[in-house]
Symmetry: C2
Subunit: 332 residues, 2 copies
């Protein structure tokens, strides 16, 4: 059983998941990918993954048949385990709990060689709706407080399999960064009675300096104090706290702007590895006036020195105004 | 002039330092090191670095002569700039300030091919005393609130030059991680009237499960909730809030335990890249009963996915009990 442990000084929870590999060889960073030509995510290999929990398919051949467009399966090496109590306990000073949760893989396309922005917009809409579907299903389980949706594209960004996929991790605790964002937003709301993200959107659209793209319902900006070069945030231009609670038409617009921004990134930065991460209000919480969901896209261009995550102090060699200008001007 | 900018949501300061390279080619991660055989840190090349600010030398030949054992020079491409006002200002919602600070390089040895734990203990003592010397000198400048001391060893850990060196960055703000640790420690002190690190040391030495090494004045442990496999902390076994305020004899013991722990890491993990980072009370603050300085050592073994720094949520495949046992048993 994986374990969740809390750092007693700064309150950060981490997952200790030894099932994911006990010997250094299994999890240590390798510079060369092992490519034996076999892909468990390609059509025809449905029996090489755990049984699917959701799929969109062409001909309704039935579960785990090869006619799918999108397929969601449990991760074969999950960081958290679905069965078990969310039993919390102390050990002297320390706090820990059972590592219950869910860890799923969204196989985004049957086509092994594509990248997210290569998909037709309709495919991206379906992927976003698959995220929503899984979030709505997983949130019924009241043990799960947060559902992390993210994508690692490219080995340097942490992807271990090449076939295009994203991931969902449902956790019984709130990740530290989420807690910080919500606390920061509440502080602003308490002072101003306004959402800080709405305020940011207002200031950014007035100045235009850090705007990358926009459409009817979404804006893409380079944030004012980015940790990483060419970091981009996509936010709905009207207030929504929960990703999974938007109207259906919004997902069309979101797909369009994601495709545009990723195409611009690919153009300006020659198809870099990247991560995207959905930041949304915790799934069990009510609609909140103070928090605004958003998607963070982080091209992986620099080697992050341990001192940066040891100190929380980041040095960014590219100003967001420069990054936004370059991305604005790149074809999208 | 570099700029310090604050994220308005979570309050994290970042350095925007475009002087360090405007074009992607200059700062983008490269997989192959450029090795033209020339090393600006080797003896004889003293004129290839800015003039030294501190040195320990064999024959007293005078500044910037090649008879040094340890040499401290300003970074040729500093993240922060020494001249200028620490002028703070707002821009609508946002907060920013001039990027004033200092960025120095501690060249640890004239010998290009050594690693930290290869040095004789006396050399390590001298390096630690050089850190202290520079901290005591830089803290006289009241603009500087914090002095980050860290080492990136190996390219995968962020080192751009091979010749063994560590770095000091003096900053006009407190790094986020430092603020979090101090706030967490104060909370514990307010409740218990005890230092949380002293409590941790007490619990760890009773259980012994996560102890790696110890000597008269220091203990090395694997922390209870480590983000990274084989993360180690070295702490003084009696309470000290400031690294630079220890008694001289303590630096001998610290050198000994650093050498032991790094040798164990090299043995157990086949000389991995690593970072170490000094966490100490802010230099302008008084001796504090609630905070305990310590050194964090992080072997760079895994590829950290962007989602981990996007969410603050870490999955660690090795339990600290396993890591501590392996390191305890490895030759030191």
């Amino acid at each position: 059983m994986p374990e969740l442990r809390k750092d007693p000084i700064v309150g950060r929870w981490v997952i200790i998941s030894t099932e994911r590999g006990n010997r250094p060889g299994n999890w240590r960073e390798k510079h060369e990918p092992v490519d034996d030509g076999f892909c468990p995510f390609c059509p025809g290999n449905e029996d090489k993954t755990p049984a699917e929990v959701f799929a969109i398919r062409k001909h309704d051949l039935g579960p785990n048949m090869p006619d799918w467009d999108i397929r969601v399966v449990p991760n074969k090496f999950p960081a958290l385990q679905i069965e078990g109590e969310d039993y919390r306990r102390g050990e002297g000073l320390y706090d820990l709990m059972n590592g219950v949760g869910a860890h799923e893989v969204v196989i985004e396309t049957p086509d092994h060689g594509l990248e997210f922005s290569d998909y037709p917009e309709e495919q991206i809409v379906q992927i976003l709706l698959a995220y929503r579907e899984r979030m709505l299903d997983l949130k019924k389980d009241k043990r799960f407080k947060y559902i992390l949706v993210f994508k690692n594209h490219g080995r340097a960004a942490g992807a271990s399999l090449e076939h295009p996929h994203s991931q969902l991790i449902a956790t019984p605790i709130l990740p530290k960064r989420v807690v910080e964002e919500i606390e920061g937003s509440r502080l602003h709301f308490a002072r101003k009675e306004r959402c800080i993200f709405c305020d940011i959107l207002h200031q950014e659209s007035s100045s235009g300096k850090r705007t990358i793209a926009q459409n009817d319902h979404f804006v893409a900006i380079a944030p004012f104090a980015p940790r990483f070069p060419y970091e981009c945030w996509i936010l709905p231009s009207t207030h929504f706290s929960h990703f999974e609670c938007m109207e259906s038409t919004h997902y069309d617009e979101l797909a369009a702007i994601m495709k545009t921004v990723l195409r611009k990134i690919n153009k300006a930065l020659t198809r870099p590895p990247y991560n995207f991460i959905l930041h949304s209000m915790p799934v069990q919480d009510d609609i909140a006036p103070e928090y605004h969901w958003h998607l963070e896209i982080i091209p992986k261009l620099t080697r992050i020195a341990g001192f940066e995550w040891g100190s929380g102090f980041y040095i960014n060699p590219v100003s967001p105004e420069d990054a936004a200008r370059q991305l604005r001007e790149a074809d999208g």
